[in-house]
Amino acid sequence: MEIHRSRKILINMFMGLVSSVMLFPILIIVNISLKTRREFIQFPLSIANQINIENFAQAWDKGDMNLFYKNSFIYTIFTVIGIIVITAVASYPISRKHLKISGFLYKLFLSGLFLPTSLVPLMYLMRSLGFINTYHGYIIFAISAQIPVSTFIFCGFVKGVPRDLDDAALVDGCPYFSYIFKIMFPIMKPAIVTVAMLSAIGVWNDFIGPLLFLVDRSKRPLTTGLYSFFGQFFNDWTVLSAGILIVATPLIVFYLSVQRHIVSGITSGAVKG
């Protein structure tokens, strides 16, 4: 939309103000993380006078960041692979109505978006399956949490793929699963990218799940790792800020590099619904 020049200046001023409120916390944390402890106590708001990476080294070591990074990557990668294979394969018969209960299943999976989190039976289930403090246990839990959204995205996509293709393949005698994996999967690539991104962000940032099911320190991901780090070093501000940035940096880099996909991916689900 076109607009007068004077109004443009006003809008820019207002948006600039909002943007600085958004950036302010991150800049403050960066600033604190670069200071020495002494400098921070004397001048909490001054701009750091040199670049001091000592805090980062300390946070990385004391915070066990190696371990937490490794765990976060394991949980995220396997959950993303699992959720894509399980729901992309399931979405084909569901959206093509190859089963009498296809329509019902679609609605059932969607209802998962609104069902309450029943923590008591969930806790009991995880405990009795021996899923507490295990990689596979948490990954299966994380997959279950992503089923409704990804089925929704995949089914929406498959509906848009012409059926002629299916019939042609059937005539050629192509087996069901090789059809899904060899022909449907490449076509579904945009939807797979969206689901991969959404579920990766979801698992990477999950806090309550690990807090409940990954109590053991050696199994913690970055989120609860950082949280426990806070409990240990709650007075060591400069190190804590460095710890926050160690966790936040990959997210910010990831966001800035594939920003357009993330924005459209995250919002696509909501608007179509």
Binding site: L108, L115, P116, S144, I208, T223, V247
Partner: protein
């Protein structure tokens, strides 16, 4: 069940998803309803007795225990209503501004949307440092103006700070949804209204707002569901304190997961929570749909 053309293949294809969904959603939901009428203690090694509506009476009407529950419900509503209204108000305005042809609009959108992917722990921890009452920058600025506050440690104001951070973290998402709605409004409408002499403000009221209605509905429902249910950000920032001043119902349930009363009691709380979310969403949905058709 067998498909005429494909045999058992479709069943095998849906099988893993159905099993996981059945166990983690259907079974658990049914178990939760059943357990809420018992004195389940977290294990079936101990005797489990049917207690009727005892847990619900305890949660809502007993003199001592209900106080915490009702307080949490009250805080949930204050939290949810404030965040939903303020967030959507700001998000609409910012989306409209971001939709004008200004050079920096992509930069603004990038910055405002960023918290959506940062995650609750990074956001909550950062704000906890910034709002720290001893050496946090915010209190430092307050002190310069001769004002002293315990901020997140003050039970009279802690909730407002939490509400602020929740809005800070989520309104970029709402804004992007509004932006996508704005971009679907045909440009000819603005052009023809300009010919007839309508200003920007008039265009906003008579073209933008009415056509944005469906997105308003979606956005408000997402905000309501999100704020009524989520508690992770509050858990990171305050753990519900001070003195339960920021304990929403979701957080209350989480913190009382190993309640000394019984796990059946906690199940009843979960069901009460679900009913509250369901009723509020139902009312909001029909109200917003009615508003949409009125226009």
């Amino acid at each position: 069940m067998k498909n005429v053309k494909y045999g058992y293949s479709p069943i095998i294809a849906i099988f893993p998803a159905v099993v996981i969904f059945f166990v983690f959603y259907v079974l658990i939901s049914i178990a939760n309803i059943a357990l809420s009428f018992t004195d389940f203690k977290g294990t079936f090694m101990q005797e489990v007795n049917f207690v009727g509506f005892h847990n619900y009476r305890l949660a809502l009407f007993s003199p001592v225990i209900s106080r915490g529950v009702l307080n949490a419900i009250r805080i949930t509503f204050i939290f949810s209503i404030s965040v939903t209204l303020i967030q959507n108000f700001f998000a609409t305005i910012l989306a409209v501004l971001c939709n004008f042809k200004i050079r920096l609009r992509n930069f603004y959108r990038t910055v405002i949307f960023m918290p959506t992917i940062l995650g609750t722990v990074v956001i909550g921890m950062s704000w906890r440092l910034i709002l720290n009452p001893y050496s946090g920058p915010v209190n430092y600025v307050y002190n310069l103006f001769g004002y002293d506050s315990a901020i997140l440690g003050d039970k009279n104001v802690a909730l407002y700070y939490v509400i602020f951070v929740m809005i800070w973290a989520n309104f970029g998402y709402a804004m992007v949804l509004y932006l996508s709605g704005l971009q679907s409004i045909p440009k000819e409408l603005y052009e023809s209204s300009e010919v007839e002499g309508a200003g920007n403000i008039a265009q906003f009221y008579y073209i933008t707002l009415p056509l944005l209605r469906p997105i308003v509905t979606i956005n408000i429902l997402i905000s309501i569901i999100g704020t009524l249910r989520s508690f992770d950000l509050i858990m990171v920032m305050t753990s519900g304190g001070p003195a339960d001043a920021t304990t929403t119902l979701g957080l209350f349930i989480f913190k009382n997961l190993n309640s000394s009363i019984s796990q059946g009691f906690v199940s009843a709380l979960s069901l009460i929570h679900f009913l509250i979310v369901g009723v509020v969403v139902f009312i909001a949905y029909y109200y917003l749909k009615k508003k949409e058709t009125e226009l």
